[in-house]
Symmetry: C2
């Protein structure tokens, strides 16, 4: 299978990075929302409008994307997928404020998955023009200009629980991706 993995919220722990950076900067005024209480896909939509600029300042900051922790189990699962013979790519959309985010997403991959893995990066705002069997993404609905070739598997997060469809974590990925392979009729 050609497996596309979204980066933030699937491999890189955006939520933990945001939580810690927010508490350092703003915790006295408004403590960070616990992960289990997050409901909106975009973190800014879960904070009061008056803090919009402060929320964006956290993830626009130099070093934020580079220093995100790894979501537990992700690296080991990628190694296993490669050993099973699957073709694994990272398929990520940059912020409109791309200056730091864009090279730091590459730095993150270099640091956590090794320099050769950088060649597996695909950066695009429109994931529907990328070929694949599966896209693992924490976004509840991934849309674009085309009908995608891939099947969307939702990477489980508290803020996407309202969405229907196959859903996985780095604990149950093997069973869930196995099901997808049966469903799509090609494997």
């Amino acid at each position: 299978m050609l497996i596309l993995l979204d980066q933030d919220g699937v491999l890189a722990d955006f939520e933990r990075g945001f939580h810690e950076a927010w508490d350092t900067r703003m915790g006295n005024l408004h403590p960070a929302l616990p992960l289990e209480q997050r409901r909106a896909f975009y973190v800014r939509d879960d904070y009061p409008d008056t803090y919009r600029n402060e929320v964006e300042a956290v993830y626009h900051a130099q070093g934020f994307y580079r220093d995100l922790p790894v979501i537990s189990g992700a690296i080991e699962a990628i190694q296993a997928l490669l050993e099973f013979g699957h073709d694994v790519r990272i398929c990520t959309s940059p912020l409109n404020q791309y200056r730091f985010c864009l090279p730091e997403k590459y730095e993150w991959v270099e640091r956590n998955l090794g320099p050769d893995f950088v060649h597996r990066m695909i950066v695009t705002k429109d994931k529907t023009v990328i070929l694949g069997d599966v896209l693992v993404d924490d976004k509840p609905s991934v849309t674009g200009t085309r009908t995608p070739a891939w099947q969307h598997v939702i990477f489980d997060q508290p803020y996407n629980r309202q969405a229907d469809g196959p859903r996985m974590t780095w604990e149950n990925w093997n069973a869930v991706l196995g099901t997808v392979r049966t469903f799509d009729g090609k494997h």
Copy 2:
């Protein structure tokens, strides 16, 4: 049609940028090779091995990609393609030394095609996993892990004249892309 345009050597004038930067830095020791004498796809392969580090230093430098001039006619052709109703994307591979090159490719597009055009960027080392009808690329042979959906149209440059296949410039693009549309049987 979904038209993928390579960035360097098709839209951004890497050759002119390199020539000018080389002559400024190194012209006294070894004048830049005139464009019509360029034969290798990678500029470093057209300079003596002893200058390898100096050649790479030119395009690894901060600001090099950001400040590349536009290839004459490219912007007007893109506007015309969009007006004809085609879907146009930029499909580009970053250097392994991505730190400056990667955000500066976006800056270049923002500056020369406008901020909205940045959403049309696709960054990948492997262009064969990108859907498209046509890929316009100055590389003589564009390969990857798959059989591509797109047909490769070579963007004419002195260093790719040995390659066979449809070939275009920003003077004759309309006639050449019209031929491709007939050939692929879908239009």
